[in-house]
Symmetry: C3
Subunit: 160 residues, 3 copies
């Protein structure tokens, strides 16, 4: 049996974004995709600095589904270097574009912290390369077995 679901997609527009200092990262990304009519997108690259980072990790030994009690939330005041931002933007059941982002930040000691991103504020600058994907039949839904929202891929035709 296959260990995965998959779908082929076509490349849409490509953008460079500079989010303004003091702005919320996810909020600004959501504003951008709404204004440009983007439904699906991927973060290709991100560099900059952030503060007020709110993130989450999963507790060691936790089982599925991931519940609130099986996570730890952290609020890191910073500022910190933004050293990684991975994720995709996919619509939920209501058609609202949902950003699923994981973040990596570095302290002045060089130590790196990371996890599932709730949100963060841009400090000096944040330069993001975003790629639009032209595809259909992919949605983010809460997963009963997983406990967290995850993408569901409607397989069948390979080309969008």
């Amino acid at each position: 049996m296959k260990g995965y679901w998959h779908k082929e997609w076509e490349q849409g527009r490509r953008f460079i974004l500079k989010i303004k200092p003091g702005r919320r990262l996810k909020e600004s990304l959501s504003q951008f995709v709404a204004e440009r009519g983007i439904k699906y997108a991927v973060i290709t690259s991100a560099v900059g600095s952030v503060s007020q980072v709110h993130l989450r990790g999963i507790k060691a030994g936790a089982r599925l589904p991931i519940t609130e009690a099986r996570m730890n939330q952290h609020r890191i005041e910073g500022p910190l270097e933004l050293v990684g931002l991975e994720g995709n933007l996919v619509p939920d059941e209501s058609g609202q574009i949902d950003c699923h982002l994981h973040i990596l930040v570095a302290k002045s000691s060089g130590e790196v912290l990371g996890g599932h991103l709730f949100d963060a504020e841009v400090f000096a600058s944040c330069e993001i390369i975003l790629s639009e994907a032209l595809v259909a039949g992919i949605e983010r839904h809460p997963s009963k077995s997983g406990g967290v929202p995850t993408i569901f891929i409607q397989e069948g035709e390979d080309r969008p």
Copy 2:
């Protein structure tokens, strides 16, 4: 003298993959590229959660070539947030597609661990964006001077 070897490549197909909970990450990727007839590919993005992570680091002060005695292996039970997955898929001498992947995972404390990935198991979900590359004349071979397998690029013509 040039400090690098290089080759231009053409973009092939683009895929979104969701690897199923409980599946091995590298094994599933290998199964996918075999089934789709992909020879060369790059990981563009990955988010999710993993457990049973088996990775490797190089000991401080080590010299080339990298030998077993100059590495440390770790097995982290997790689960952990998958906060980074970088790498490429390139055929080896026998034509077998070899995944060279480095992983970054976050503990519930926010602390991040990482290294060369042997393999990991998908926990709740793993969403990967994969880009196929159309190219020839690149192979992964064990490097005598480096000690580890690395890509060898046959330069000469720039366009595939």
Copy 3:
């Protein structure tokens, strides 16, 4: 008010680069883009190992602008696994291509360090996937309010 500046760009050439052991990472990238006539580029992926890593972090509690006194510099001898390299290459005011890179490296303990990259030396190998961007009206300048060089995007027309 918009929380961002943005610009659409077109995809140029795509390259795979293998930087030679003992070479400086940023120096080799700069040499490559100069020789190929690349003005704008993005790091899509990077795996390998490095030593002599010189990086910088921002001190907790620091305010804008980011000054020398508000940063900590680190020199890590290594070798270390290169587990992340994010960034873009954009010309400065004189037309010189400037690499803005953030790096993530893993120690043999699995612990990850990172920050703004000054430079690093390639250890066994460094495999980089680089995408050229065809665009105009983007430059890197020192930012008075931010304290560090950052990209400035000339908005107005959406298509390059």
